[in-house]
């Protein structure tokens, strides 16, 4: 455990001295928090959809999936906001996917270019400690930034006078499962994917860009939700957690193979 702590400390000391990493870590969460806040603020304060009841929305067929049950007791305006908020949940879920990629890419490719991995591998640290240390060093700030943004978002909702009904939905199980459980799992997948890509390339920006392909399956989920093919609800969240946890375990196993001392020293390019 002590070695893992040392690796995390080292990673943060190194990686957060890079301006590009700090900027991304600050700007992405800020942007992903402000955009939904502004939109919800505008909707709340202009009363868009105030003259439409949820029943009317349901009859018009514009309400996806099981939104009818979610909108019970809400005004038309609140119901429309809840429908929009689901897209914001997916935006929030993108943070733990995007942020660790940046950290992992700079941390691993950085070690490759300065050839600092060999002296590190020559210490008594185990491969697992090193891998876990590197993963956590990327996952913790990403998840931390996501959670902090979520907290900030909730405070902002009060400030922009979003109705208690919408706020209650955001603090409900679907969002909490997504932010608190699925978020860290997605971050683990992203780090291990970035690790795999970083072992093959020698430029951190390239590693970051290639690792960015992870966003495509995510975009698929967004499009499917918009098209009404899937509905983001508790059931979907639980299923996603199980599937993503299995993928994360597989990716971590792949990470232990990639992060084997011999592979790093003889096969990494």
């Amino acid at each position: 455990m002590k070695n893992i702590r040392t690796i995390i400390k080292k990673e943060w000391a190194e990686v957060f001295k890079r301006r590009v990493v700090v900027l991304i870590m600050l700007l992405v969460p800020l942007l992903f928090t402000l955009i939904p806040l502004v939109m919800l603020g505008v909707m709340s304060n202009t009363g868009v959809g105030g003259d439409v009841s949820p029943e009317m929305l349901a009859q018009s067929g514009s309400m996806p999936g099981d939104m009818e049950t979610v909108c019970v007791g809400l005004s038309g305006n609140d119901c429309m906001q809840v429908m929009m908020v689901i897209q914001f949940l997916l935006m929030f879920m993108m943070m733990p996917l995007l942020l660790p990629i940046t950290i992992a890419a700079y941390s691993i490719v950085g070690e490759k270019t300065t050839r600092s991995l060999e002296p590190l591998l020559a210490t008594p640290i185990t491969t697992l400690e090193l891998l876990v240390g590197k993963c956590l060093a990327a996952v913790i700030p990403a998840v931390g930034a996501t959670w902090a943004s979520f907290a900030l978002f909730n405070i902002g909702l009060i400030l922009v006078k979003v109705s208690p009904g919408v706020r209650a939905y955001i603090l409900g199980p679907t969002w909490l499962l997504g932010i608190l459980v699925l978020g860290p799992i997605l971050a683990i997948i992203a780090v291990n994917f970035a690790l795999y890509v970083s072992s093959r390339v020698s430029d951190p920006r390239m590693a970051e860009q290639v690792s960015g392909v992870l966003i495509f399956p995510f975009m698929g989920v967004i499009l499917a939700q918009l098209a009404g093919v899937i509905t983001i609800n508790i059931k979907f969240m639980l299923l996603s957690i199980v599937v993503c946890a299995l993928i994360a375990v597989g990716m971590f196993y792949l990470g232990t193979i990639i992060f084997d001392r011999e592979n790093i020293l003889t096969k990494w390019k």
């Binding site: 040392t6 190194e14 002296p119 008594p124 185990t126």
Partner: protein, 326 residues
């Protein structure tokens, strides 16, 4: 202390990993405690691969190796705890200060008093004044010194140095060499890979000339004798054919060469034969100006060994090509 038996490393190469490359082919070595061992060989000879196997960084394909009784492939973590390695490139965290660089390794090696160890080596290697500066701002020599400090921080029993002075300016190289001398006096076991034959001759008790396999292993002086014998030069004021004939007639003289007024005599035991030859030459009327032994440089020994290995390999390849044609 360091013992290898038939140590082999074969890499799978090529896109489909079907071809093989023999990097180390049956290395047998025994290095005792406190010995400074020089591992000489051209680029691609397998020196770094050997060091990596001995420091438990990569696994041998076959054979065995032991460091202080700890087995490579079995006691890997313990081996890494007990050895220090100076890798080919310093591999520092460039954005961190020298002190931060060393602190990370002090923690990983679980050093009981990290502050003391860090301060000791920063002072010893003249890095104290710049200890708070980022390692990326250091000169090449300073980086190498910091890497040496890092390798020594946990007071390892065995130190592996991979090309310790390559690319350093004379002043930095001298600091590193002096430090190696200091370690030698402390009785540390040092395994040093180098291209610098003067360096090997200066520091090493024994050297091994290596190209995939060990071509020769002995003290530098003994290797010279094995390959070239010992040559004594008699500088004379004048020479006559009789003088040469009389010396050549001696049974212990292996060869004699005359270059102007100098006689180059190949002998097995100059200490025994020099007085005899001197008497004969004086009897024949020679005025001896002075007598000296010609020392072949380690470089010549090295080049001779490597060339003969290369030519034998070429011969083998040609033979196998011819066999295949037939």
């Amino acid at each position: 202390m360091i013992k290898t038996q038939d140590l082999r490393k074969i890499f799978k190469i090529g896109k489909k990993q079907k071809e093989t490359l023999v990097a180390v082919d049956g290395l047998n070595l025994e290095i005792s405690e406190g010995e400074v061992f020089g591992f000489l060989g051209p680029n691609g000879a397998g020196k770094t691969t050997t060091v990596r196997m001995l420091t438990s960084l990569i696994r041998p394909s076959s054979g065995s190796a032991e460091i202080y009784g700890l087995k490579v492939g079995v006691d890997d973590t313990e081996i890494r705890r007990n050895v220090g390695i100076l890798t080919e490139s310093p591999g520092l965290y460039e954005r961190l200060s020298a002190e931060q660089n060393l602190r990370i390794f002090a923690e990983l090696y679980d050093i009981p008093d990290p502050e003391k160890a860090i301060n000791k080596y920063l002072s010893m290697l003249d890095l104290w004044d710049r200890r708070m500066d980022a390692a990326g701002t250091y000169s090449k020599g300073m980086r190498q010194k910091l890497a040496v400090a890092r390798a020594m921080l946990h007071e390892p029993k065995v130190l592996f140095l991979d090309e310790p002075t390559t690319g350093l300016d004379p002043e930095a190289a001298k600091t590193v060499r002096d430090f190696i001398d200091e370690l030698k006096h402390q009785g540390r076991t040092i395994f040093m890979c180098t291209h610098n034959l003067d360096e090997a001759e200066r520091h090493c008790d024994r050297v091994g000339i290596f190209k995939q396999r060990l071509l020769a292993l002995d003290k530098p002086s003994a290797l010279r004798e094995q390959l070239f014998g010992r040559k004594v030069v008699f500088h004379l004021a004048n020479t006559t054919p009789e003088m040469c004939a009389a010396v050549q007639a001696l049974p212990d003289v292996k060869a004699l060469e005359q270059i102007e007024n100098k006689l180059l005599v190949s002998l097995d035991e100059p200490e025994k034969m020099n007085p005899v030859i001197t008497r004969i030459l004086v009897d024949k009327g020679a005025d001896i100006l002075f007598i000296g032994e010609i020392k072949q440089s380690l470089e010549r020994v090295y080049l001779e060994m490597i060339r003969s290995e290369e030519s034998s390999q070429t011969k083998k390849i040609n033979q196998s090509v011819e066999r295949n044609r037939a």
